[in-house]
């Protein structure tokens, strides 16, 4: 059963990823991204990370991909792109080589260097209690300061997004109304 789930989810993840990269149309890429995100969410569930799976679906698939689609529509750039051409000389071969190098290096390193270190430093992942409970208790005790910082970060991001999106050289509000 576990293997079936893993294989299916992994196939969805890889298919989605390839779809994102290979689609000529941005909207298709966005939809393929959703497929990958769902696959990841399934793999989270398979590894007992229920809370993160839920957040993955809600935030990523729900909010972020929708945001992508909004922007695609907003800018009116939903045109297909010719993947056969490349203006920058040498960009593609080197990119492929770099990708090959990364994956090869990771697998080579995995042969000698493997997961090590102390277990359950921030609290055990198994045992009694739900996953949400455990994440929450860790988040609000050990990682409280970092958690509070994220709120600041989000506020800054929101303000920045508003300023960037509204402000343009030809004058703010009217410009936004045009688009």
């Amino acid at each position: 059963m576990d293997w079936i789930v893993f294989v299916v989810a992994a196939a969805a993840v890889l298919a989605g990823a390839l779809g994102v990269v290979l689609s000529t149309h941005p909207v298709h890429s966005a939809l393929m991204l959703v497929l990958t995100l769902f696959g990841i969410a399934v793999l989270f569930v398979a590894q007992e990370a229920h809370f993160l799976a839920a957040v993955q679906v809600i935030v990523y698939a729900g909010a972020i991909v929708v945001l992508f689609l909004f922007v695609i529509m907003l800018l009116g750039i939903d045109k297909s792109e010719n993947l056969a051409t490349e203006r920058l000389p040498g960009q593609r071969p080197i990119a492929y080589l770099a990708g090959l190098g990364v994956i090869a290096a990771i697998f080579l390193l995995a042969r000698t260097a493997w997961v090590s270190g102390a277990e359950s430093v921030a609290g055990a992942a198994d045992g009694p209690g739900s996953n949400v409970e455990k994440v929450a208790s860790s988040l609000f005790t050990r990682y409280l300061l970092a958690f509070e910082m994220t709120s600041v970060l989000l506020v800054i991001a929101v303000v920045g997004a508003v300023v960037l999106a509204r402000h343009s050289p030809s004058g703010g509000v009217r410009d936004a109304e045009e688009t």
């Binding site: 080197i94 990119a95 770099a98 190098g101 080579l108 390193l109």
Partner: protein, 647 residues
Amino acid sequence: MMHAVWLIPALPLAGFLILLATGRKLGDPKAGYLATAMMVGSFIVAVGVFFDLMGMPGEERRFEQDLFSWMAVGGLDVHVGFLVDPLSVTMALFVTGVGALIHLYSVGYMHGDERYPTFFVYLNLFAFSMLMLVLADSFLLTFLGWEGVGACSYFLISFWFERPTAATAGKKAFVVNRVGDFGFMLAMFLIFATFGSLNYVPVLEEAGTLAKGTASAIALLLFVGAVGKSAQLPLYVWLPDAMEGPTPVSALIHAATMVTAGVFLMVRVNPILDMAPGVLTIIATIGCLTAFFAATIACAQNDIKKVLAYSTVSQLGYMFLAVGSGAYIAAIFHMVTHAFFKALLFLGAGSVIHGMHDEQDMKRMGALRKWMPITSGTFIVGWLAIAGVPPFSGFWSKDDILLGAWEKNRLLWLIGLITALMTAYYMSRQVFLVFYGGERWKKADSRTPAEAHGEPDHEPAATVGAAGDHGAHGDFKPHESPGTMAAPLVVLAALAAVAGILKSPLEHWLEPVLAHPHHFTSPSGTKLGLILVTTVAALAGVGIAYLIWMRRRVKEGAVEPEVLRRAWYVDELYQKVVEAPARAFANFSAFFVDAKVIDGTVNGVGALVRAGGSRLRTVQSGFVRNYALAVAVGAVAILAYAVARSA
């Protein structure tokens, strides 16, 4: 009064500072009177200190005043302090005394000059520096004054810097003096390395323990410094040019005080000199040759101040002859009398120049005694004094020097005697040309002096005025100078006439300063004979001049050969030997080393960076995906390194 010794240099310093701040507001003539008052105050303090010192028992006449620590670096701890002993008090007395008189004279002489207050600023600064020089209790403090007077000399020579000749003369004095200063500095290094101190008292007390080689090196280096400052061969060339400065400056700095600093220094370090008999011989020889050499040039000069300048060089040579003979007291004695009569002669010359409306050529003067009675009377006293006619002061001091030379070396004595004859001759020539004979200026009054011959005119604005006022209308008349100028002349003339009586008091007074007091050993018969010979020589010089310049027995050209007129072509020689190679080297440095090597290196680095930049800028393509690729390649490289390490 003894503890007020610091006031002696402090008063001119205060004058300098006050004039610096308010000189322009005080203006002409208040600034001059203020500066003079400071000098007079300084003189009064010096007199007070002198009487205090007189009150002490003979051998203990020494007082040290330590004011504050100037600098303490490791083992070197230099204090600002004063050493009061008979030598420094003598120097301080005549520096302040003659200085005050010349300040007073300048009040009248500089009247109407645009930069009148500035002149007194420099003059007071000079007095301060000179007094620091003589009163200092350490070599370094003396050096401070030494450099101070050098700087003031430069300022004052080129006081009328609008004239290119004055600016050049100032630079020349500065550069030539630098050579001597190097000797002084090296001597100080050597003294500190040897004694671990720069204070006069410990150094001079231990001088007797010096090795002969060290003593000779120190003495020789100090003498190099003295040669520069006191204008001896071969560094005398700056002094004749220094006559470009205002005449009171010539009198104060380039006759009475600053140029005697070298002699003072030699006498101050007499215990070291006594340890180096070879150096003493060198000093005597150079002094003697300088005296003779400068006297020959003075015989053929036409500029009234140039004659006096070469005469100063010559008389300074006499002083070094005395130092070299071990007759230190005779050197100081001649320094004092020379200060009186040479300052008098210079001030008299200034008065003549003033009265003749900035004419300096003696060939265009004559019969001035009718028009300028005070000037001519005092000038004649000065003439008799310098010529060595008894009983005027110059006779006594010069006689002592020649006696010392006689005991040192007969050849030096002979040269000294011939020089004395020439001194009498050229001074008589000057007096006859200026004050006697026909009124030659009448023939020349249609031309301005500057146009007539290339001589530097005294002051540009005044010359134009003089030519306009007198030359054009033909009513030019020499006139006597105002009271502020005449009074110092009279005082100095009195001093020059009677200073000979100082001879024997001065000998007793200065004895404690000397490590080995020098006594003339010749029998009195020899002494008397020498006096007679000297007197005859002086009178012969006067007589020859009378025959040539009053009776006109010989044609002028015959006694003024071109080679003397051009000062033995020494300046030209220096130009060829020193200046031309230096200029060539400078050109080489400027146009090859600097332009090609140094600039080439700098520009080469620039060009390299520029070329490298223009190649490398293509890397900055502006395409964000290129940058991302670079990041990816870098990440792969790091991973590859990790793989290589783990394998």
